[in-house]
């Protein structure tokens, strides 16, 4: 009897251990993500429109949805232009390889900061120093599939879905604090059509949804579009760093 009990306990322990280490990564999903990442890795320039809706805690037990859209143009290795249309603001972030400029169309004020000399570092620096989160940039870098599969406990291919009339691969990843869904177009470029992130780490779960459209691949953008000339009477103000 005791033997049986011990055996049962051991079995339970082994089972629990196995459960703790459980990590399920679907190879089909990884192949699709890899393909998307490698396309991004080979691009010289990229343009797209992203439409974002996200939940915002307005007060306790009071969520509101905030909408915005961005016209983004990125050119390797060090150019970026993002014009963000929010509900009550319109902003521009412009990076010419040397400086990042923020301009508020509504208030006609701008800030200038000397930036790192490449895009990846600049995107990180914008976040750490100025709290600017270019969420879409999280998906658009070459090692995305590697980082994604490392950070997620579960990555799965949920099948073919129709998103806005297009065939798309529906892929999901999750860990204890986040669930990420990505719909990747089933065509030669494997570009994302939609992403939906659900965060569980706050007091309430909240979502961040992005729709991508108007992709421009390897267009030869003129340098001038990444340069900023202050409009007449625009006022430069000081930009406060976080550290």
């Amino acid at each position: 009897m005791l033997k049986k009990l011990c055996f049962g306990l051991m079995l339970l322990l082994v089972f629990e251990m196995a459960k703790a280490q459980e990590k399920s990564i679907d190879t089909t999903a990884v192949i699709i993500l890899d393909r998307m990442s490698s396309v991004f890795g080979e691009l010289k320039s990229l343009g797209f429109t992203s439409t974002v809706s996200r939940d915002l805690v307005y007060a306790e037990d009071f969520f509101i949805k905030v909408f915005s859209s961005s016209d983004v143009k990125i050119e390797g290795p060090n150019k970026l232009s993002a014009r963000i249309h929010g509900e009550n603001k319109e902003d521009l972030y412009s990076y010419n390889g040397e400086q990042v400029i923020y301009y508020s169309y509504q208030n006609n004020i701008y800030t200038v900061a000397d930036a790192p000399d490449n895009l990846i570092e600049t995107i990180d620096w914008l976040y750490t120093d100025f709290g600017i989160e270019l969420t879409t940039a999280d998906f658009l870098y070459p090692s995305f599939s590697k980082d994604f599969t490392e950070q997620m406990d579960y990555v799965g291919f949920l099948g073919i879905a129709q998103v806005e009339g297009k065939r798309a691969f529906h892929i999901a990843g999750s860990n204890e604090s986040i669930t990420v869904q990505i719909w990747i177009s089933d065509d030669s470029y494997f570009l994302p059509i939609k992403t939906l992130i659900t965060y569980f780490d706050g007091p309430y779960a909240n979502q961040h949804e992005t729709d991508f459209s108007d992709w421009e691949i390897n267009q030869d953008y003129p340098d001038s579009i990444f340069e900023f000339s202050p409009p007449p009477s625009a006022k430069q103000i000081t930009w406060m760093r976080q550290n």
Binding site: K44, E75, G76, P77, N78, G97, E98, Q99, I101, Y102, Q106, N107, N108, I109, T111, V112, A113, D114, F130, G131, D220, D223, S224, E227, F228, S229, P230, K235, Q236, I237, T238, W239, M240, R241, Q242, N243
Partner: protein
């Protein structure tokens, strides 16, 4: 046999044709590719023109290198490419590059953080250099009075803030009213009022001497001066100083249901036994005008006016542009 020969001939021609056409197509594609890649190898595209003409000292060298491209040195249209190396030879453009009338203006980086106050040092006009050096002479006067004992950039409100503070760089920013941006336009309180750093050769006869912490100030009509070698320089009102009268234009500011302060020229006074005592700006209170000497700073998504060490947030009350004094306290991250 003859038919077979014709068939073979046709096949041969067909094959040659296919090879030739595919070669042409290939050449076309390669050329297109080479054209692009050659013209803009992503990593080196900017190198020749930019990095040579403006290396580390970007803003200062830029104007210096510009004159060579100015119209006067332009012999004829054919040298356009030399004038505008940025849009030049290595990169075919529609019309040989733009021939702009305006010059590109160098944008100077202006970044700060909450812990240091580099942008206090501003001169210009009738103003003197502002720094923390206490030496008294006309060009080196400490117009800030944040060294006085118990100096505070603000004093906390009587009621708690309804929301947790907005954390930025180790500091928590708190306010009551909704943020409503309006541009900072310094206000002038009439001909006898002057901003910090303003120099006057002589004072009005109504000026009195106020002494606090072994420092003499000359006070007149809501303005504090420090004597220099050849005149007087306006300084920040020293907190704790008491004066008998304040200008009649002073406005009452509600600090709590029972306490009102008086506001004039960027200084807050509280009525005391001996008259009116200079007090720190009351966080949570609103004022309708700010003096010269402040700067607009972007902290996260919002823009404040920073005067000395105090942050004022643009708000609106009853449809009128106002500023709320913000509480900015250090927080543990």
């Amino acid at each position: 046999m003859e038919k077979l020969r014709i068939k073979l001939w046709v096949l041969g021609v067909g094959l040659i044709g296919m090879v030739f056409i595919s070669d042409l197509a290939q050449a076309q594609r390669v050329r297109a590719g080479a054209g692009r890649a050659g013209a803009r190898p992503a990593t080196t595209r900017q190198a020749p023109s930019r990095e040579m003409s403006r290396p580390p000292s970007r803003p200062s060298t830029r104007p210096a290198t510009r004159p060579s491209t100015s119209p006067s040195s332009r012999p004829n249209m054919s040298s356009r490419d030399n004038i505008h190396p940025k849009n030049s030879s290595s990169r075919p453009t529609l019309n040989g590059g733009a021939n702009k009338v305006t010059r590109d203006r160098a944008n100077n980086s202006k970044v700060s953080n909450i812990r240091n106050n580099p942008s206090d040092n501003r001169g210009g006009g009738n103003r003197n250099t502002i720094n923390n050096n206490i030496t008294i002479n006309r060009n080196n006067v400490n117009v800030r009075n944040n060294h006085v004992r118990n100096y505070r950039p603000y004093r906390p409100p009587y009621r708690p803030y309804p929301r947790p503070p907005y954390i930025w760089g180790g500091y928590g920013f708190s306010w009551f009213r909704p943020y409503y941006y309006h541009p900072y336009r310094p206000y002038y309180w009439g001909p006898v009022w002057h901003p910090w750093g303003f120099f006057v050769a002589a004072l009005a006869t109504t000026a009195i001497i106020v002494s606090i912490e072994n420092q003499d100030y000359n006070y007149n009509e809501g303005v504090f001066y420090v004597e220099t070698d050849d005149g007087y320089v306006v300084v920040e009102a020293p907190q704790g100083a008491t004066v008998k009268v304040i200008p009649k234009e002073s406005k009452e500011v509600e600090v709590s249901p029972t306490v009102n302060n008086y506001y004039y020229g960027g200084t807050f006074y509280e009525k005391s036994d001996g008259g009116y005592t200079v007090v720190p700006p009351p966080a949570g209170a609103v004022v309708d005008a700010l003096p010269e000497g402040g700067e607009e700073v972007k902290v996260g998504d919002q823009t404040y006016v920073k005067i000395g060490d105090t942050y004022y947030m643009p708000v609106q009350e009853d449809g009128k542009d106002m500023y709320e004094i913000v509480q900015v306290e250090e927080v543990e991250e």
